[in-house]
């Protein structure tokens, strides 16, 4: 039996929302008997898109993080549910649409907040990896079929050659600290960046080829400014402090302390000629 999992490659996502819509199309107003009660037309996002904007004008990055149910190996929502929430042999976590009725506590047990309360049906609901379709012979859920960029990679985590197993090696859990054994992992979850634009002050010209060094938190990285004088350090942890040094032959260097409380665009950094 396969053990289903998914990798979300955030670096490929264009924010088209096709997965979000395909999911709505599959479940809104339609019961999948034995699997899920009809989802209300609005209000639930079994495939949730989290838009994430970073930086400051004009150095901005925009990412979209597609968040289904994590199909945890140790699902918190199942604890104490007396079988109302259960894990299938293929690892998919199911909220039984009948047994889970009138049990709103199931919703609040999920730290990812991906179980939604259905007021009409009085039941908690969530992504099932389209288990009813997999059981009918489909190879992938609706969201994956609708994805135009290869962002969503689905398959058998126990098959070492599967695309999902290969991608899994590069992927990270969204919240490893929850320790729930998530079976949805992510590539390129946006962290923090530090960027700036270096200018040769005497010529009022973009400083191409300046060397920028970032040190701190046990790491050291170097970047060389491009034709616009731009440099960038990606993937930095939040809440950290770094020392940033800029050097260019014939110019006085500069050093800053940068705190990554968020992604930071330092703007123009003007280098003056060394005397």
């Amino acid at each position: 039996m396969p053990r289903y999992g998914m990798v979300v490659d955030v670096t490929r996502c264009n924010g088209c929302y096709n997965c979000f819509i395909a999911c709505k199309d599959e479940y809104c107003g339609i019961a999948r008997p034995g699997y899920s009660a009809p989802q209300p037309m609005t209000g639930q996002t079994w495939m949730k898109i989290l838009p994430k904007e970073r930086g400051q004008f004009p150095k901005v990055k925009q990412d979209y993080i597609a968040i289904p149910c994590m199909q945890c190996e140790k699902p918190g929502c199942a604890e104490g549910s007396d079988g109302a929430v259960y894990k299938r042999g293929d690892g998919i976590v199911m909220v039984d649409p009948e047994k889970a009725k009138d049990r709103p506590e199931i919703v609040s047990k999920c730290p990812y907040r991906v179980i939604y309360w259905n007021e009409i049906e009085q039941v908690g609901q969530k992504c099932t990896f389209c288990a009813h379709l997999l059981d009918a012979g489909w190879k992938e859920p609706r969201c994956v079929e609708a994805c135009p960029t290869g962002t969503l990679i689905f398959g058998d985590l126990d098959a070492p050659d599967s695309a999902v197993s290969q991608a899994w090696k590069r992927a990270e859990a969204m919240h490893p600290e929850y320790g729930m054994g998530d079976k949805v992992r992510f590539i390129g979850l946006p962290k923090n960046f530090v960027a700036g634009a270096v200018v040769f002050g005497d010529k009022d010209e973009c400083a191409k080829g300046a060397t920028v060094t970032l040190e701190g938190e046990g790491r050291e990285a170097t970047a060389v400014t491009d034709g616009f004088g731009d440099f960038e350090f990606e993937g930095l942890p939040g809440g950290a402090s770094f020392t940033l040094s800029i050097a260019a032959p014939g110019y006085m260097g500069q050093t800053f302390t940068v705190k990554t409380s968020k992604s930071i665009y330092l703007g123009d950094i003007i280098l003056e000629k060394s005397s």
């Binding site: 809104c28 135009p148 010209e205």
Partner: protein, 842 residues
Amino acid sequence: MAEQTFVNCTGGGPIRVHVEDGKITKVRPLVFDETDAPSWTIDVDGTKYTPYRKACVAPFSLTERSRVYSDERILYPMKRVDFDPDGAPGSTGPGGRNPQNRGKSGYDRISWDEALDLVAGEMKRIRDTYGAEAIMSRASSHHNWGNLGYRSGAWARFFNLIGFTDILDNPDSWEGWHWGATHAYGFYWRLGNPEHYDMLEDALRNTELLISWSNDPDTTHGIYGGTDSAVWRLWLRDKGIKTIFLDPFHNYTAAHVGEKWIAYRPGTTSALAVAIAYVWITEGTYNKEYIARRTYGFDEFKSYVLGESDGVPKTPQWAAEICGIEARTIVALAREWASHRTSLAGGTKGGEGGACRQAYATESARHLVFLQAMQGLGLPGISIWGTANGPPYNHTLEFPGYAQGGFNLIAEKPAINPIKQRLYRLTVPDAVLDGHIEWMGEGFCGNSIEQHFTKFTYPLPGHSEVKMFYRYGGSFLSTMTDTSKWVRMYQSPKLEFVVNQDCWWCNETKFADVILPACTNLERDDISEWASSGGYSLHASGSANHRVIVYQQKCVEPVGESKADYDIFIELADRLGYKDQFTEGNTFEQWIKKMYDWSDMPKYMDYEDFKKKGYFVVPQLENYKPAYALRWFAEGRACDTPDTSNPKRGTDKADELMTDTGLIEFVSQSLMRHTPDDDERAPLPKYIPSWEGHESELFKKYPLQLISPHPRFSFHTHHDTRVPWLSEIPEHRMWINGYNYQVCRIHPEDAEARGIKHGDVVKLYNDRASVLLGAYVTERVRPGVVHSYEGASRYDPLEPGKADSPDRGGCVNLLTPGRMMSKNVPGMAPNSCLVEMCKWEG
């Protein structure tokens, strides 16, 4: 009943529709199987690029279940409660026609017979009294799909047969390219867009840098290609080809693959372009050999750029002040561009950016052509390419695009409109209200560049003014400019009778006297090719990775009492005495078969198999050899691309462009011949400050520049609020206090200065109108610029029927200027729009 599946097509791609018990239960992208033709592969130095084995459709295409069953469907024929057809034209009060109440009053359900008798009766009366030209009609674009059952099929056949005053469309998605670039490089038969053959392969092989200038293909999809080209841009990115975005908005393609964002001020494209040319001229980094060999009039342009002719050198410092970016950034951009083989994604078809819909955009579009001419347009990797069309393409299977003639291709007797009188879409309300209008330029000038100079007068001498409007669809309040005037027109007694035929309650529907409910193309059969418009966009299906010919299978019965457009027109034709001519004795199915027979499809697939399977994937040619767009021109040889609409192709001038000189013209000879003294579209284009921009007097009162590009999550006015799922996308619409507002993006500085917070209801206003929107505070717009998409599906004035009431539906085109691009150019300029914003306390 067991589940059945059907194949159909949308404006964003082909779909597989699942149906149970007569109801749609799923709408999926069409997935290809092993019986379908293999996909192409581009091999670049051992790396193989091949597309997904499915139709990557647009997001809105996946909403069709929700849209078919939308609460906003028109279920029955309706008559306005205070419209009495026995009343005299313009009569008010009980027993009157009460045109002043259009947009305000409610409707009564009536029977189809009553509705059709009423509409046919009014058509007869008006034709008998005033002549056939007294009926005007126009179809909206994009709400359905299909070659025969939709606008270029059923609607066009009916009206061309009976005769009517047609309304000429303006090329609203690429205005500046159409009215301007044609005078630099020809391509009038593509309405100003260059050919795009094999540009994907050229880019993968040869391009080193992409400049995306007012270009957002991830949103505009090459018009109908859905999300099929998104993966191309990932291939390019992953190959290390950087993309620099020039746009006041950090657009969706920038979000996806952007490397650098240069947010220059709207309306200043030309200043930025000529300053780049200044850097190249002064640093000698342009292709002098190409300029000498393949262009005309460069010295005059050079003289302008250097300031020799007007005393103003167009230096980066000069442009920096105008464009609101640093001079050093312009210099760096110019150097990056010139030092790489650079493809310019310049907002032509494929990217459709907003810069080409601004004051004097004819000049900026020509300037962009000039920049690539200076680098050698057509040489390897150096192109004008929107990054959303031009994969390996088998053009040899002939199948008509939707605008390629429709019924006229297959009817024994084509329907040709006998009426010569025309109106122009942007100025229809002015024409109706004033009773007279003149303009120059034929809208879609696809047959000759001379059509740019055709003069029109309304009414045409000897012709009646229009007295009746038969509106098919209802998008103009949200897609044209200064659109409060449409409300005023609809309420004028000069329109004695107004009909609206549509599937949904669109923003013009409730201005009709009688409403006829049409069904969607999921509720009837049709035939088409994905993304193929044909006509002035030959081989447009190259915005998708596979050519897919679709037998559009009826999936479910029409909702409510709605009917197929073709069936509605049969009923009217019957009542007007045209039924036999309209149908020529054919059933609709027989027409479909005739179009199949007209095409090359019989060589590839049996009709019954095609009808049953629902689609055919056109196989790639064996030993396919790319023929790169414009390479022939750059190399001075005969055109070898499949652009059979190029009039010089196959002649002894096949190495020339369709300009007067056959070269890229810095000084346009077609403009020299026709309008040599026009200082707003002069033979040599110049930077001209916008008539509504940061240098305008009005800027003091309205200091924010509104840009309203084509929307991300809907197709113009279609889908949007009809689909509650789209309303949940926070970047599209916001729920605030129980109402679903379209979002308006504003920079944090501008928001803070006005006491506006993210999620506030705001009023965007100027002297033309006010629109209520949800504030979306973001670093992704330039300070001083606000961004809200055109195309809201809903017009919802606080006081219904009042033209100057604030609208909360999100029709930002109520705010945009009705002024034409320039005095001789009838293009729209919605992105030249000054506004102010405040928090709405109402």
